[in-house]
Amino acid sequence: MQAVQSSFYLEDPFGFSATFVGFDNYIDALTSDYYLHVAKFTLIFTILVTFFSLALGLLLAAKADDVIRGSSSYKTLLISVYAIAPPVAGLIGMMFFDQHIGPFVKMAAWFGWDMKVGINYFDTAFAMITVAVWKQIPYNFIFILSGLQSIPVSVREAAAIDNRSRFGRFWTVTLPLLAPTAFFLLIINMTYSLFDTFGIIDVIVKDKAANNPITLVYKVYMDGFRGNDIGGSAAQSVILMLIVLVLTFFQFRFIERRVHYN
């Protein structure tokens, strides 16, 4: 709430005085080239991270589902491994791109790609997206796997009798039945890409945001805590809050629908 109030004021860096400036902070934010540039990157980042972490999660879950069909002890084991995985995966992912010891950077070098994470814009974006996807896969995997497991075995068997193509069955029976889970995850992943990737970005850009890709959340932090532009930062965070509100609204609408669906 304080953010909403601050967003209408121009404060001096030491917080002694504040002038009411109305929507100026919002207009500044929304018309600044840099803000729009960051917003564009955030959009691309969100789409790519959401898409790849869902797609890869689905791929892995579908494979795992084939393997563990019926064996519940294996399932519990797999799920508990994946439950502790995300934080560890985050660390490992970060290490992969370390400029000096990162295996990924070395591997890229073999292919003639001189990766300069933190310096080259594209390389940094690539590392950020990869680590963010990598970190989110286990989470998606668990949800998709349990979604797959909750599809009755006999429905799949009926489909096996009705349709000889494995891919056809996946497309026409499995995927539609997974839709509730997928939609839920879509919202979760978008929220994740927008907000929870803060830590990853922070480590990768290491305060050298100047020429590096950052997301809107990171910009709020930069402007507020580094740039001391409390009002502008607050305005930006209010915009972000609105986005969250919209996402949450869709999610609730959907949960309602889902209750009817079952």
């Binding site: 068997e157 009926a158 009798i161």
Partner: protein
Amino acid sequence: MAAIEISSVSKSYTGDALAVDNVDIEIEDGEFIVLVGPSGCGKSTLLRMVAGLETITEGEVKIGGKVVNKKDPAERDIAMVFQNYALYPHMTVYNNLAYGLKNRGTPKAEIAARVNEAARMLELEPYLERKPRALSGGQRQRVAMGRAIVRKPAAFLFDEPLSNLDAKLRVSMRGEIKHLQKRLGTTSIYVTHDQLEAMTLADRLVVLNGGKIEQIGTPLDVYHKPASTFVANFIGSPAMNLVEGKLTGGQLMIGDNSMQFSSAPPADGPVTVGIRPEDLQPTTGTGIKARLDYVEELGATRLAHCMTDGERLTAALSPEIPLADELTFAVLPEKVHFYDHATGKRLSNA
């Protein structure tokens, strides 16, 4: 439509015990075969091996003369009706019926014709645009049947399709399935643990126990000549009385009661004697003496549970017959079944 041959088929899941043990069944084209047996006897496993949903550990399954062991379920030209119906929850009734045809490249017009015909047969026409969740259990069951019918497959496979319905609906659907099967003439294998359902539906019954076939035969054959004490006990309700007896020459002793047989009985020494409850009739003459324990009234008949020399005997009597504490039962000699005391196998008698 096709004959089905099941030759020396076995199934082991984990390597140790056999869920299905060396089963041979030859099913004629158009025949209605019912697999019956207690829970866990391997009925579903056997059916699912025919369907292709379970691999065949040993032996061969032929449908229409062709070995199908290696074929996918969709390539076997069979349709299956599952216990929980297994309808596609996200598809309308129409699409549930049409799905199998679409995937086989049937022309749209023909799909529509077949779906509508099946819907008419099963009185599903008003529900074609509904999703399965908006249907009652009985209606879902019909959709499951419809999904099988529209395909016009070589064989129908049923795995306890009626066990989720209430008793009354079960009886009427039972009649309908029988009727449909006769009308379509499609070879069918039907799994149930309900012996009454088995008796009423089957052209031939296959009684399974512990993965092995106990007996194959027409319902009347199986009822009147159970091949083992297991079948005798399993088929028929109330179950056949099985008591210990002793044969010496032409005389059978059950406790202190004796019966004289004119034709030579099949064995000497201890035997298991089987008598159906309805074959025990009270007499004023000599016979098996028993003390009345308790009575169950079923309306048309009355079950008199009695004790004779520590053995339990149940008689199905007409309600008109007056009951006394001490009863004497007469049995026609040809209604007495003899079983090997040790193996439980039927001893042939005249």
